[in-house]
C-alpha cells in the first residue's frame, strides 16, 4: 500500500468527511509526540501534540503536501514549540550541565544507562547555543529525518533558506563542540596528537 499517497487522500477526504482525519491522527500521533517529547519534555509534548492535531484539522484546507502530511505536521508542531522556547532551552541546558531533565522518558531505560558518551551532553550545549530556526532545521533534518524540501514545506520557507540555516547550525555545532573539547582536554590522558 502506498502510504504516502494515502495521507493526502485522507486529508482530501477529510474536507468532506472529517472523521477521515482520525486516520491521520492514528498514523502520526506517535511520531509527532516523540518529536515534541525529545525537544520539550513529556509533559509539554502531551499538550502540544494534541494541539498540533487540533490545529492541523482546522487548517487542513491549507495543507500543500502531495504525499505524506508528516512534514506539515512537524511544521505545525515546530511552530507551536516556539511559544515554549524557554522550556526547550532549559531542557538542553539541563542536559549539558550536571543534571538531567527528568521530564524525558526513554524507550529503553536500562539500555539508556549502559553506553553512549559524554558527547551527548556537549551536543545539548551546542543545540542550546543555536538560534531557534537553526535548531529547528537541524532537528527536523536529523531527528525527524526530513529532506531539505520537506523542511521547506514544514516551515514554509524557500529551500535555499533551509540550506543556509542548516549550514549555520552545523558551524555553530562544530564551534561549540570544539570549545567543549578544549574545555575538557587538560583532563584527557596523554596520547597521540591528533591535530594535523
Amino acid at each position: 500500500m502506498d502510504t504516502a499517497s494515502s495521507d493526502a487522500d485522507y486529508l482530501a477526504c477529510s474536507l468532506h468527511e472529517p472523521t477521515a482525519f482520525e486516520l491521520i491522527f492514528d498514523r502520526h500521533f506517535g511520531a509527532v509526540h516523540k518529536y515534541l517529547h525529545r525537544r520539550a519534555g513529556r509533559e509539554l509534548a502531551d499538550e502540544l501534540a494534541a494541539e498540533t492535531f487540533a490545529l492541523a484539522f482546522a487548517r487542513r484546507e491549507s495543507c500543500r503536501a502531495s504525499g505524506s502530511v508528516l512534514p506539515w505536521l512537524y511544521g505545525i508542531a515546530t511552530n507551536l514549540l516556539h511559544r515554549h522556547r524557554r522550556a526547550e532551552r532549559r531542557q538542553l541546558h539541563a542536559y549539558s550541565r550536571s543534571g538531567v531533565d527528568r521530564s524525558v522518558a526513554y524507550e529503553d531505560e536500562a539500555a539508556a544507562r549502559v553506553d553512549g558518551s559524554a558527547l551527548d551532553a556537549r551536543l545539548a550545549g551546542a543545540l542550546a547555543a543555536m538560534r531557534p530556526r537553526e535548531r529547528d532545521v537541524l532537528l527536523l533534518f536529523a531527528l525527524a529525518d526530513l529532506s531539505y524540501e520537506e523542511i521547506a514545506l514544514a516551515l514554509d520557507v524557500p529551500v535555499g533558506t533551509v540550506r543556509t540555516w542548516l549550514h549555520r547550525a552545523r558551524l555553530t555545532a562544530q564551534r561549540e563542540l570544539a570549545a567543549a573539547e578544549a574545555d575538557v582536554s587538560p583532563l584527557a590522558t596523554t596520547g597521540v596528537d591528533l591535530n594535523g
Binding site: F21, R27, F29, A31, L123, G196
Partner: protein, 396 residues
C-alpha cells in the same frame, strides 16, 4: 547512576506517548471534528457525496498502526551531520604524480606521515615522517617530492631515499614547471630557491602575517598563486586571502580585495587553483555568497559558478586536465559530496551520494580518474573513481 550516565540518555530514543495522552489528544481532536460537522454534513447531503467506506477506514487504520514511528533519539544522523565534514580528516591531500603512475598523500593514522603508492593502490608505503599534514609537491618529472617537515622544506626521491633539507625555514613548497626552482613561504613572505638548494632569494615583502596554506606556479611558470593567512586572530583557521604575482615577485595583486574583509568571521576565500591554460583561477568563497568562483588572472570577470543552492558550503575545486570541467566538494545535500560541472558552471551533477564524508577530489593527469577522500567504510581512506563517478573503490 553518575552524571555521565545521565548525559548518555540524550542519544536514546524517547518513549512512546502514554495511552492517557493519546486518549486525551484524540478526545480533543474529536471535539474539533464535531464543530464543523453540522455544516459539512449538510453540504455533503446537499451534494450527495458518497460516504467514505467504513471498511476502507478500518483497513487504513490497521496499516497505519503497523507503521513504525521513529524513535527520536539523537542518533548517528545528527552526529554524522555535525561531525561528518571534519576540517581535517586523518587522511588528506592525495596528489597524482605528473606521469600519473603514483599518488602521494598525508595521513595521521599511524603518526603523521607522507605516503606514496602506485595509482592502483599497490606498493603503499610511508616515505617520510612529518610534524604537520601539509600537501606534498611532486617534481615535474615525477621523480622527486618536496615537502614540509618541522617548518623546513625538504626534497627526496619519490621512494623516500636521499632526503635533504633545502631551507632552514619554509612552508608550502611548490616546484616550478621547468623543475629548476622551488618557491616557498616564511611567515607571509615568498622566497625561491634552486632545486639543488643554491640561489636562495627573497621574492616579496611580507604580504600576510601567518602561514601559507597553498602556493602554486602557473603552468607556464611565469606567475605564482598563493593563499596567505591574514589577521592573527586566535582560532581563525580561515582568515585567508588569495594573491597572484609574477614569478620575479613583481605585480602583486590581491584577488580577494573586492570580496570583503576577514574580521570578524571567515576570510573571503580558500582553495585557489590554476586552470590548466593558466588564464583563470578557481577558488572557494567563504565569507558570504558561498560558492566556487572563477576569475581571470587579473581578477576581472569574477563569477560564482554555483549561485544555487544558496547557503551551501564548498571546497577543493579542481580543473580537469583539459580545462573543460571542474570537480569540487560541497555540502549542498547535507554532508560533503563530490560534484562535477562544466567549467562555465553548467551541467552540475553529483558523483558521490551517501551519509559519509567525500571530499578532496583530484584528477589524474590523463583526466580519466578522480581520487578523493572518504570515510564511507568507517575510517578515512583514499578512493578512486572514473571521471563520470562510476567504479568507486578504495585504494588504501
Amino acid at each position: 547512576m553518575d552524571e555521565m550516565d545521565l548525559f548518555r540518555n540524550f542519544r536514546r530514543g524517547v518513549a512512546a506517548p502514554s495511552a492517557e495522552a493519546q486518549r486525551r489528544a484524540s478526545a480533543r481532536l474529536a471535539s474539533a471534528l464535531e464543530e464543523p460537522m453540522g455544516r459539512e454534513k449538510a453540504a455533503r447531503l446537499r451534494h450527495g457525496r458518497r460516504r467514505w467506506p467504513l471498511a476502507a477506514i478500518a483497513a487504513a487504520i490497521l496499516v497505519g498502526g503497523l507503521l513504525v514511528a521513529p524513535a527520536f533519539g539523537i542518533g548517528d544522523r545528527l552526529l554524522a551531520l555535525i561531525q561528518g565534514a571534519p576540517a581535517r580528516p586523518e587522511v588528506q591531500s592525495p596528489v597524482w604524480s605528473p606521469d600519473g603512475r603514483r599518488i602521494a598523500f598525508v595521513s595521521r593514522r599511524d603518526g603523521k606521515a607522507l605516503y606514496v603508492m602506485n595509482a592502483d593502490g599497490s606498493g603503499l608505503r610511508i616515505v617520510a615522517r612529518v610534524e604537520r599534514l601539509a600537501t606534498p609537491a611532486w617534481s615535474p618529472d615525477g621523480l622527486r617530492i618536496a615537502f614540509e617537515r618541522n617548518g623546513q622544506v625538504y626534497v627526496m626521491n619519490a621512494d623516500g631515499n636521499a632526503q635533504r633539507r633545502l631551507t632552514r625555514r619554509g612552508h608550502a613548497p611548490a616546484w616550478s614547471p621547468d623543475g629548476r626552482r622551488i618557491a616557498f613561504v616564511i611567515t607571509g613572505k615568498l622566497y625561491v630557491v634552486n632545486a639543488d638548494g643554491s640561489g636562495h632569494r627573497t621574492l616579496t615583502r611580507r604580504i600576510g602575517d601567518g602561514a601559507a596554506n597553498s602556493l602554486a606556479w602557473s603552468p607556464d611558470g611565469r606567475k605564482l598563486l598563493v593563499l596567505l593567512e591574514h589577521g592573527s586572530a586566535p582560532l581563525c583557521a580561515i582568515c585567508d586571502r588569495v594573491y597572484v604575482l609574477n614569478a620575479d615577485g613583481s605585480g602583486l595583486r590581491d584577488l580577494t580585495r573586492k570580496l570583503g574583509g576577514s574580521q570578524p568571521g571567515p576570510g573571503p576565500a580558500s582553495d585557489p587553483v590554476w586552470s590548466p591554460d593558466g588564464r583563470r583561477i578557481a577558488f572557494v568563497r567563504l565569507n558570504t555568497r558561498h560558492g566556487v568562483y572563477v576569475a581571470n588572472v587579473g581578477g576581472s570577470e569574477m563569477r560564482n559558478l554555483t549561485p544555487k543552492p544558496k547557503g551551501a558550503a564548498y571546497s577543493a575545486p579542481t580543473w580537469s586536465p583539459d580545462g573543460r570541467k571542474i570537480a569540487f566538494a560541497s555540502e549542498r545535500d547535507g554532508n560533503s559530496e563530490i560534484y562535477l560541472m562544466n567549467a562555465d558552471g553548467s551541467g552540475q551533477q553529483s558523483l558521490t551520494r551517501n551519509l559519509a564524508y567525500d571530499g578532496d577530489p583530484g584528477w589524474s593527469p590523463d583526466g580519466q580518474k578522480i581520487t578523493f577522500v572518504s570515510n564511507r567504510d568507517g575510517r578515512f581512506e583514499i578512493y578512486v573513481m572514473n571521471a563520470d563517478g562510476s567504479g568507486q573503490r578504495s585504494l588504501t
